[in-house]
């Protein structure tokens, strides 16, 4: 039997499927959201259930500056991806570096905050329920920032070596989805830890 009956070129012409990079990243983000949801639920469930101090109102200081840094890094990575899409590799490098710097400031800020809480206030992960939930939720987020920063740093090195080309803009775009997700998670964590939980 012949296959002419089925081969109809009209089908092939208009055949467009979603980008697998974006679909894959959105699926990964869905999985990560589920992990964060569980940690956020645990945090909210245990608000006010600590049997001993120190309590959130004694030790927490709202980290305004690093929050602004992290949230603005979403804007800079967006500008970086747009620059690469328009084949402006130089501008891409600058905005990418800005993203790296802002993310690093956030991470250093978190580290200093933890240092203050551990050494001055005596709150560790095993002190009470607040310590357990606080360090694991904020730590899980900081871990995601760290992973993102490693990826950004690698791409930065490749940019400096001149290996990043405009055709890589889709990869940068897919990665930027992850970075935006990390920012959105911080908005949730910030609200839960520093607004609701205090």
């Amino acid at each position: 039997m012949s296959s002419e009956a089925v081969v109809r070129p009209s089908i092939e012409r208009g055949w467009v499927l979603p980008s697998r990079g974006r679909v894959g990243m959105f699926s990964l983000i869905a999985a990560e959201s589920a992990i964060f949801t569980i940690f956020v639920v645990a945090y909210i469930f245990y608000i006010g259930k600590s049997l001993s101090g120190p309590l959130p109102k004694d030790v927490l200081e709202t980290p305004i500056f690093i929050t602004i840094c992290l949230l603005s890094s979403s804007l800079t990575i967006h500008l970086a991806v747009r620059a690469l899409r328009n084949a402006k590799v130089g501008a891409f490098g600058l905005w990418w570096f800005a993203t790296l710097t802002l993310g690093a400031i956030f991470l250093i800020g978190t580290g200093r905050e933890w240092q203050r809480m551990i050494y001055e206030k005596g709150l560790t992960i095993s002190t009470n329920l607040f310590g357990t939930t606080y360090y694991s939720l904020v730590g899980l987020h900081a871990f995601h920032v760290t992973v993102g920063l490693i990826a950004i740093a690698l791409a930065m090195i490749l940019t400096l070596l001149g290996k990043v080309k405009p055709e890589h803009s889709e990869r940068a775009d897919v990665f930027s989805l992850y970075w935006h997700f990390v920012d959105v998670v911080w908005v949730v964590v910030f609200t839960v830890v520093y607004v609701v939980g205090r």
């Binding site: 296959s3 089908i11 699926s27 990964l28 999985a31 589920a34 569980i38 245990y46 992960i125």
Partner: protein, 557 residues
Amino acid sequence: MSSESIALSAVDHGTRPISERLHDWVVTVDHKKLGILYIVYALVFLIIGGIEATILRIQLIVPHNHFVSPQVFNRMFTMHGTTMIFFVVMPILFGFGTYLIPLMIGARDMAFPRLNAFSFWMTAFGGLLLYFSFIGGNGLYGAGTVPDVGWWAYAPLTSRAFSVGHSTDFWTLALLVSGVGSVGTGVNFIATILCMRCPGMTLGKMPLLAWLNLVVGGMVVFCISPLTAAQIMLSIDRYLGGHFFDTQAGGSAALWMHFFWIFGHPEVYILVVPAFAFVSEIVPIFSRKPIFGYPVMVAATIAIGFISFSVWAHHMFTVGMSSYGNSFFVFTTVAIAVPTGIKIFNWIGTMWGGKIQFRAPMLFSIGFLFQFLIAGLTGIMLGAAPFNWQLSGSYFVVAHFHYVIVGGIMFAVFAAFYYWFPKMSGRMYNEALAKWHFWLFLIGFHLTFDFMHIPGMLGMPRRIYTYEPGRGWDIWNLIVTIGVFFQIAGVLVFVANLLWSLWKGEPAGNDPWDAWTLEWSATSPPPEYNFATIPIVESRRPLWDLKHPEDPDWKYE
């Protein structure tokens, strides 16, 4: 048949040394090899998990038996449950999915082949970690080697005080690691099905197996992650002195139960939806009719996917939730029976008026149909909170979920084995041996799990090491254990059939079943690139269109 137009012979590997061929299997990113790796890996663990189950049943064959010690008994039921769920059924279903999805949607590989390999090796590593605890779990003298906390590992059993040594840590890490692999597979399924379909294959023209695995991918992504999160918390408790599940410091043991079951119940559907997928492919072929109610099947599956996330606490009716909580979970549990029932009607509708061929895949599918129906009915019984208060934690529950997993899922998996074995190996299995397997396993299954309901209703709790004579449980336990040996005989026939057919089976040809989906247009086994030219489809049954150009499906769809 007309499939010669896209048939090409596989590259001949026969002349290369065995070390190189083994090396190929280790470094492969080919979805067909990884699929087979998953399946073989799962079969090895099926034997191990089966031996553990046999040990449990021999211990319970008569009252006051001393076949194993109570400690070993606890380890065996923990390892049996964990192994069967995470390292047998999941990998076997992922294996079939990985093997079949690209072939059925006309693609050359998964969307992310390297992620696919990563996922398999993470799962494999997880299984090895779990079993390494036989060697490395003994952190303290006399602390015990293998996990003995039950497969759901309720707090506070898992706290340092009650689980010294490293056995629980191996359990936690094994599930954490294999969970990462599972999420990778879920992501890959979704991306492959959405982004790699061949021209013409719109979502409405995908084979049901692809549709159902798309839903499975979504469920894996949303439900394995909570388990991963819970395992991270448990590790924080055990290693860093955290208090998530430490009731002494204000923590909550019930929170672990919620987190575990919010994974645990969708997990049941992750296991059963691929089984639905197999049956949805096999029943039409052996009834010689297209599937009845395709859009309704898809809608019912999506409904199951959503509702499965709202039923978890029906595992927790005896914990003491509010009456509103109980009512909600009774309602959702009964609601999820509706789409499941729709599916059963659709399969029967497919068979209705068809020319049914009772080959081994069809026999196992029909077994699945009736046994899954009964499993669903006992599920509704247990979903009613007052009934559940009476029977929760009894052998009735054990009988119910084994009816789902063995009578439902394993029967569908065996059907899939016989149905796709010719495609994967290029050879036909032995039909007579397959029928022996079916009847032996069917008899064994019903002896074991039908009669297991009765001691449950008579009050026999699950996970007990032994029992007093004279409570009316003795005869039932004896029958249940006798059934196990029929099941073992069936599985031995199955393994013998696989091995024998692999060497001596008749060459199968590309399309031994006169089937309709794209995998049967490739050679058996398919070449590495699957299709020399990417096919173009116009209906849900592209091979029907090829074989019957005078009356193609696309005229009617």
